[in-house]
């Protein structure tokens, strides 16, 4: 008898407890482990959110960026996804298609003014939103350009292919630098598609045919792509760019140390350079290789997992994090582009006249998303390998053909990836 009483009592008590809205815990995964600046900011946001209301409590788990995607996939297999997770922009369609994410139940008016690159949309629905956008630019010093009598390109009048190429050759001939241009071949992984597919697109090609997303034929191995491939290969043959065996330490510090004259680098690495060279630093737009200059877009964004039982709570957190002060904090901390103009005004680098303000305009006018498709995960790896192989001297047409075949086969095996 006492036992049933005890059980009844427990059930009653727990019912009361849940009814009384004890804080519901929301789990969240973030990719910033090991990165002190990012960790500090995200912890602050979580702390502020938890304090600002009583209903939800977010607990944060950090992962090192390198293994973050693998961790999420393994967790998805186990049915163990957190409520809130962040996802790299181009990967988001794959996760949405695979059923990891659910559409974001946030108030869309909040993000009306956000840069297009920060919004993750798939199949007509919004799945993720980013607290920043990332861009790439040609980083160099005014003094270098003056020394070699090279014109400073502007957004309206970027360098042409001939101009850019000639400039590189001139710098090379002076013998003052180890290499005229640093493309960052040491950063294997997502950097390659992110930083280099814009070049391909500017030549007129693309990773996949964006009309149908069902093949890469013609886009990745057509005439424009081959032209790009041959120019790409020539950069390494002419010793204008350090190749695939570049030391990562050189990529991180080479420009600052004076080894390279120009660096094709992202704005997350820009702070370092600004600190070293101050006003002499120039962030230049990408060259126009024939079809208009292009840079990449979309970085890490927040989403809600499909298995989350509290999407409203997750949405509440994300809406909270979208406030201007946090957008500005991230921008000041890691140098990335804030998604709104109002946030930009609050930052040191992106406000009107700030040293990196040009990135904001670049992102607005030149940014092009990587192919929005679940097949991107495989296509990116294939593209990366193709670029590395061409850089190492493989036949351009054959390599591109092989890449196309692999991407096509993968799309077919997945029944078109839901397009």
């Amino acid at each position: 008898m006492t036992r049933t009483n005890l059980m009844a009592g427990t059930i009653l008590a727990s019912a009361l407890a849940t009814g009384a809205a004890a804080q519901t815990e929301l789990s969240m995964w973030y990719h910033g482990a090991g990165n002190e600046v990012e960790s500090e900011i995200i912890n602050r946001i979580v702390g502020d959110f938890n304090e600002s209301q009583d209903e939800w409590e977010v607990s944060l788990q950090s992962f090192p960026q390198g293994s973050y995607n693998d961790s999420v996939i393994a967790a998805a297999l186990a049915g163990n996804l957190p409520d809130i997770l962040d996802v790299d922009g181009p990967v988001m369609p794959n996760w949405a298609w695979s059923g990891y994410l659910q559409p974001l139940p946030i108030d869309e008016s909040l993000i009306e003014n956000f840069l297009p690159g920060t919004k993750g949309e798939w199949n007509g629905e919004l799945y993720s939103i980013g607290l920043w956008d990332a861009a790439v630019a040609m980083v160099t010093r005014q003094s270098y350009l003056d020394q070699f009598d090279i014109r400073v390109p502007t957004l309206e009048e970027p360098w042409t292919l001939e101009e850019f190429d000639a400039a590189l050759v001139k710098i090379k001939e002076s013998g003052e630098f180890a290499y005229p241009l640093d493309l960052g071949m040491a950063w294997t992984g997502e950097w390659y598609p992110y930083a280099f597919s814009p070049f391909l697109q500017s030549f007129g090609g693309d990773i996949v045919d964006r009309e149908t997303y069902s093949t890469a034929e013609g886009a990745l191995n057509g005439d424009a792509a081959v032209e790009f491939g041959e120019w790409w290969q020539s950069l390494f043959e002419r010793d204008l760019v350090p190749g695939t065996s570049q030391d990562p330490a050189d990529r991180d510090n080479g420009f600052v140390e004076g080894k390279y004259a120009i660096s094709w680098n992202g704005n997350w690495a820009a702070l370092n350079i600004l600190n070293e060279y101050g006003d002499d630093t120039l962030f230049l737009p990408a060259p126009d290789f024939g079809n208009g200059p292009v840079i990449g877009a979309a970085s890490w964004q927040f989403g809600v997992s499909a298995t989350s039982e509290h999407p409203e709570g997750a949405a509440a957190f994300i809406e909270f994090a979208l406030q201007d002060e946090y957008l500005a904090a991230f921008s000041n901390g890691i140098g990335l582009i804030p998604p709104t103009e109002s946030a930009a005004e609050m930052t040191e680098n992106y406000k009107e006249g700030g040293p990196m303000a040009v990135f904001y305009e670049l992102s607005e006018s030149q940014a092009k998303l990587r192919p929005v498709s679940p097949g991107y995960v495989v296509a990116a790896k294939v593209f990366e390998k193709a670029l590395a192989d061409i850089a190492n001297g493989a036949d351009v047409q054959d390599t591109l053909d092989a890449a196309v075949d692999e991407i096509d086969a993968d799309i077919e095996r997945n029944q078109g990836y839901g397009h």
Partner: protein
């Protein structure tokens, strides 16, 4: 041993062996059969599409090969066209392998290797060239590392087998790399092999008084695999040295004394006294090294990622990249099954060649 009531005990036997066997069954045998089964499907790591049975498709995709003979390009007069270097020009393979209905069986294949045959060029094509290269690289690695590592280990064991003061210190030092993780070793050796300022280049430069040109060891397709071989041997040789040492120390000293009395040379002593006593050890070492060599993965993952130009692709690396990186579990499983068959074949051959001829 004769069967007796004293040794027969079904229940105790099964009880004692069950935990061990059970664990192995669940964690090794079961996954293996699972992999075998998966290789006949199109299973993805995770996907909303249902899994389908595809039969031998995956195997065909991996192992498909073809041969094509190319005739040289001829001009209108029928003479062979040559380019600036004097080499004969041939039509591009694309014309045959991409959408050419006359050569449907070659569709999608790529060139693996080719050679001259008179005026023609014979091209060996493969459906998955990267996998083929991985197989060749792995076999090369095994074929070189097994004898070299075993041989070096033997030499070191002979050196350590001397009666010198403090010889144990040397033995400890030679074994130390074995204890360090291969991941740590790979990271350290990246510094050593660095093309610009690496320790190896600097050392060679210093020794030759600047005559040596720095080599980009890991960035050059010709030197990448040998570099990894050298590093792998460096790491593991101490382990096999110790095994040889144990074998050496079981050889009865009386045999050595007899040899000394008869005045045999050092080489003869080795050949007739030492070597026969080491036979069993040699077999064990060879088998262990071979199996370890086939599992080449961590060094590639940390140092080269399979490049440059696929010169360091290995079978296990391909299996992991395909299964986990490209989310194609069925492809990864197929490669695993093929690897197992390969290792099995080679192990059986080894056992056959080294069997005791009693």
């Amino acid at each position: 041993m004769s069967r007796s009531r004293l040794t027969q005990s079904n229940r105790a036997g099964w009880t004692m062996a069950l935990p061990g066997f059970g664990l192995i069954a669940v964690f090794i045998i079961l996954p293996f059969f699972f992999a075998f089964g998966l290789s006949f499907t199109n299973q993805r790591l995770i996907s909303p599409n249902p899994t389908e049975w595809v039969g031998f498709d995956n195997y065909r995709q991996l192992m498909g090969v073809g041969v094509l003979t190319l005739e040289p390009e001829r001009d209108d007069a029928g003479a062979v066209i040559r380019d600036e270097d004097g080499a004969i020009e041939y039509p591009r393979l694309r014309g045959f392998t991409r959408g050419n209905p006359d050569y449907a069986h070659l569709d999608g294949m790529r060139e693996w290797t080719s050679w001259q045959w008179g005026e023609d060029r014979v091209v060996l094509l493969a459906r998955d060239v990267v996998f083929m290269k991985a197989v060749v690289n792995t076999l090369t690695f095994v074929a070189v590392v097994a004898p070299v590592q075993a041989g070096l280990a033997l030499v070191l064991a002979l050196l350590i087998n001397q009666r010198l003061r403090g010889i144990n210190v040397f033995r400890t030092i030679y074994f130390m790399p074995v204890v360090v993780s291969i991941v740590v070793v790979s990271l350290l050796w990246r510094f050593i092999y660095d093309g610009n300022d690496g320790l190896l280049n600097n050392l060679l430069s210093a020794i030759t008084f600047g005559a040596f040109e720095p080599v980009d060891w890991l960035g050059n397709p010709d030197t990448a695999l040998p570099a990894i071989m050298a590093m792998s041997i460096w790491q593991a040789v101490g382990f096999h040295m110790v095994i040889w040492l144990a074998g050496l120390q079981t050889i009865s000293p009386t045999l050595y004394e007899a040899a000394e009395i008869e005045g045999t040379s050092r080489w003869q002593t080795f050949r007739y006294v030492t070597w026969p006593g080491l036979r069993n050890t040699a077999v064990l070492i060879l088998i262990v090294i071979t199996m370890q060599a086939f599992a080449l993965f961590a060094q590639i993952d940390v140092m080269t990622g399979g490049g440059p130009l696929d010169s360091t692709q290995t079978i296990v690396f391909q299996a992991v990249e395909r299964g986990y990186g490209k989310q194609d579990i069925s492809g990864g499983s197929t490669i695993s099954v093929l690897l197992f068959l390969l290792v099995l074949t080679i192990s059986l051959i080894q056992r056959y060649l080294t069997r005791e001829r009693n």
